[in-house]
Symmetry: C2
């Protein structure tokens, strides 16, 4: 076993050959109103919408978003672009079940209230202070500001559906849990 | 706007400069029994545990897992390794609230039963048929096998807590939603 992996109950000694090439591609969240969520994720977090897929028969649409560094060779052809999208890591899939945006009382469940399950997604940022100013400029609601609570230098904000988004600068949290 | 992004209501014309360097680092799921979940994710999906963090005061532990391709320069030092982990994409964070593994009736909520919210994570695989054989060899329970339902060549399996995991081979789904 590589020395950088942790030896713990349950952990396989090595990655089986049958898993070669497996990639954790995306996480999917349902959203009430895609116009609101797309504004949030493309403007506040700078994600790009690589592909929208419509399924009229089942009355839903899927949106695949990525944070592009700027030098990726993203294919122009829609089919090739979808294949490219599914070959990446760090993709966010938003599912819109048609009509929820017109129901004032409609809410999705964030996973942190009961019943619990899913917790959050996390964006790493190059400069936490600058990112916090940017989030403040955009009136993003906080669960926890970086100076609050036991975990300093880690913030949690909410997306338009109430899903939690962790914000951290990797270099600042090297001693977390020590 | 780059031609490969979709023009849709809400979508920002370009990624703001203030978001430069933001990366979608991880998704967090709560798990009942880490020994069971670590076996599942390290053996069946070949992930590696890059860091375990314990918070005795709050009675929980965090496990950060990655699918390594094999050529990454993962630091040996635990702090540097955590910084490296937070600088990647495609990390899975598992949260264990101590003691849940000893409660026979304890279950987390998968987000697909009511109340809905989070949907699934997805692994892209290089060979769908081989991956399905591997999942079958490991008795992984299915939500949907690739030949079932409207979306051919896409499978959904369940992890030990019941969270859904999508399985797809990118090249096979180029025409999805067309």
């Amino acid at each position: 076993m590589a020395a950088f992996t942790e030896t713990l109950p349950g952990v396989a000694a090595e990655a089986p050959a049958q898993t070669r090439g497996f990639r954790l591609n995306h996480s999917m969240l349902r959203v009430k109103d895609p116009a609101v969520s797309l504004d949030f994720y493309t403007r506040v977090f700078g994600m790009r919408v690589l592909r929208k897929l419509d399924f009229p028969e089942m009355k839903f649409s899927l949106y695949f978003l990525a944070r592009l560094e700027g030098d990726e060779a993203v294919p122009q052809d829609a089919g090739e672009r979808l294949v490219w999208t599914f070959s990446q890591q760090g993709i966010l899939e938003l599912t819109h079940n048609w009509g929820t945006e017109d129901q004032p009382e409609f809410r999705y469940h964030d996973g942190n209230a009961q019943p619990q399950g899913f917790g959050h997604i996390c964006f790493a940022v190059p400069d936490l202070a600058a990112a916090i100013r940017w989030l403040d400029d955009n009136q993003v609601p906080y669960v926890k500001r970086p100076e609050q609570g036991k975990m300093k230098d880690i913030a949690f904000v909410k997306d338009p559906d109430g899903y939690w988004i962790e914000i951290l600068q990797p270099e600042l949290v090297a001693d977390l849990g020590r």
